[in-house]
Amino acid sequence: MNTATPPGRIVLEDVGISFGRNGNHVEAVRRISFEIGSGEFVCLLGPSGCGKSTLLNAIAGFVHPTEGSLTVDGEPVLGPAADRGMVFQHHSLFPWKTVLANVEFGLKMRGIGQHTRRGLARTFLHMVGLGGFEHHYPAQLSGGMQQRVGIARVLVNEPRVMLMDEPFGALDAQTRLMMQELLLEIWQEVKTTVVFVTHDIDEAVFMADRIFVMTSRPGEIKAEIKVQLPRPRSPEVMTSPAFSELKRQCMAMVREESLKAMGGAVSPGRTWRSVAAR
């Protein structure tokens, strides 16, 4: 299992994704090209409905690009697989399985014996700080704890890529910050590639190596922002001038796109011109 973990390099070339046929054709994302290196932490940032989750679902293999190519380590993505594990926003733990059985799930699917998978699952539960909760059911855990189980359930499979779809979006601010720190700690340990979808600018700047800011629908890459804040990062970094500057850049771009998406609800005159100009 530990032999030559593949690097987890993601390459998108001119990826476009559309849904529906004939009459209700919706173009979710358009002409997306980027490369994510092995072990990199990348955030997809954009207003809601910009297609960032669609893009993540394409890397996961739940949806297929209608145009362009999407490869992980040179292989085209054909469907979901445990080496591209996904942490969902919420409600994705199996409610009928204990915490331990949830984490074991991927290993069970690979046919690994019960004794081995118990041991591995326990190791990863300890990593996310949930040793002692093995026999609880998800309903007995708080939202933050449930997401930690979700992370352990993905990481136990030693994935090349971990995909995260606004995993902390439903948590309160304090818990969210603690989860962000925990995730960074774990990521520095396991060094898997992370693609993290969020609309929270602070979250993106605090966590990412690079941020791709997306336009409103159809989503395109508006900008790539390199976050060169030193690691390991602690919440104190959020008060630094460098952080504020990055945040300011992101905010300006996200705001511009949100205004476009809202179609004039905030400042009609300006949006009218920007729509007309397109």
């Binding site: 445990a82 594990g85 199996f94 799930f105 998800p138 309903a139």
Partner: protein
């Protein structure tokens, strides 16, 4: 979806049935409320006793209605008689056979129809056409369809239980959170593993609801069938008492049917609770 109307109806039915079947509701709450509830039941029996003693004939004719004390004496007679086990034994055997077949077939078909569009289109439409026909309406045809009256009674029992089980199972499968299916796929589960690890446990709460409702409708159908074509059985006992003009046993039969139906539905729910330890935690959290 063609099943949504039916499912919504059966879900509402399940809620009401759940309330109606919980005898423990009588004893929940503050002592004063419990006392009122018990007093209300006793008052009902008292009114019945008085009405039958004075042979009230106003809208409802109490002249031939046995009084509570006569019913109590008839109950004791039945409890002492060897026929009790014969009747109840026969009824239980028929319910076991009819309900068992309905459970196996209803759950199996429900799982397949819930998962496969082809199965939904090919199987569900004819079944939906048969569903509005009450089990009792099948009795004449059932007598023609089966060589023995025993076979036709079991068939009627089966029909009574089958549709609630089928529809609730379909409802349960279709109601499974899509996130859970997606999560299992992204963890490497194939179609069979999704079925076994997600669809089966995910639909279980709804399946148990269906089984519980099916158990109730199954007794209802059984009694009707026994009254018309049976030999032995608790429905037969009740009808025979009427034909022989032994009126108190009619009410004894009615009470026995109620108790047996309530008991077997409670049994289904107890088994369901044991199968789903996580449900208690979720419900506790909801409160």
């Amino acid at each position: 979806m063609s099943t949504s109307f039916a499912s919504a109806g059966s879900a509402a039915l399940a809620k009401r049935a759940g309330a109606a079947w919980s005898l423990s509701g009588l004893l929940d709450g503050r002592p004063a409320r419990v006392a009122v509830r018990i007093a209300a039941c006793l008052a009902g029996v008292a009114v019945w006793q008085v009405a039958s003693i004075y042979r009230v004939d106003f809208i409802v004719n109490f002249q031939n209605i046995p009084s509570p004390d006569q019913v109590a004496r008839a109950s004791v007679d039945l409890l002492r008689s060897p026929k009790l086990f014969l009747h109840i034994g026969n009824s239980l055997r028929r319910v076991f056979a009819g309900f068992g077949a309905a459970a196996v077939l209803g759950v199996a078909l429900g799982l397949v129809i819930g998962r496969s569009r082809l199965a939904e289109d090919s199987l569900l439409t004819p079944l939906e056409l048969l569903r509005p026909i009450p089990a009792v309406a099948w009795i004449p045809l059932a007598i023609l369809m089966f060589a023995s009256s025993e076979g036709s009674i079991v068939f009627i029992t089966f029909i009574g239980a089958f549709f609630p089980i089928l529809l609730n199972t379909i409802h349960g499968v279709e109601g499974i959170d899509r996130n859970l299916i997606a999560a299992s796929r992204s963890l490497g589960a194939g179609p069979w593993a999704i079925f076994r690890e997600v669809v089966l446990p995910g639909s279980l709460p709804s399946v148990v609801t269906g089984l519980s409702i099916g158990m109730g409708t199954c007794w209802f159908s059984l009694v009707s069938a026994e009254m018309i074509s049976g030999q032995f059985g608790i429905g037969y006992y009740t009808w025979e008492a009427y034909n022989l003009q032994k009126y108190p046993p009619i009410v004894v039969g009615m009470i026995a049917i109620g108790l047996l139906g309530m008991g077997s539905s409670a049994l289904v729910r107890v088994v369901g609770t044991l199968l789903m330890p996580w449900r208690r935690l979720e419900q506790a959290k909801d409160r």
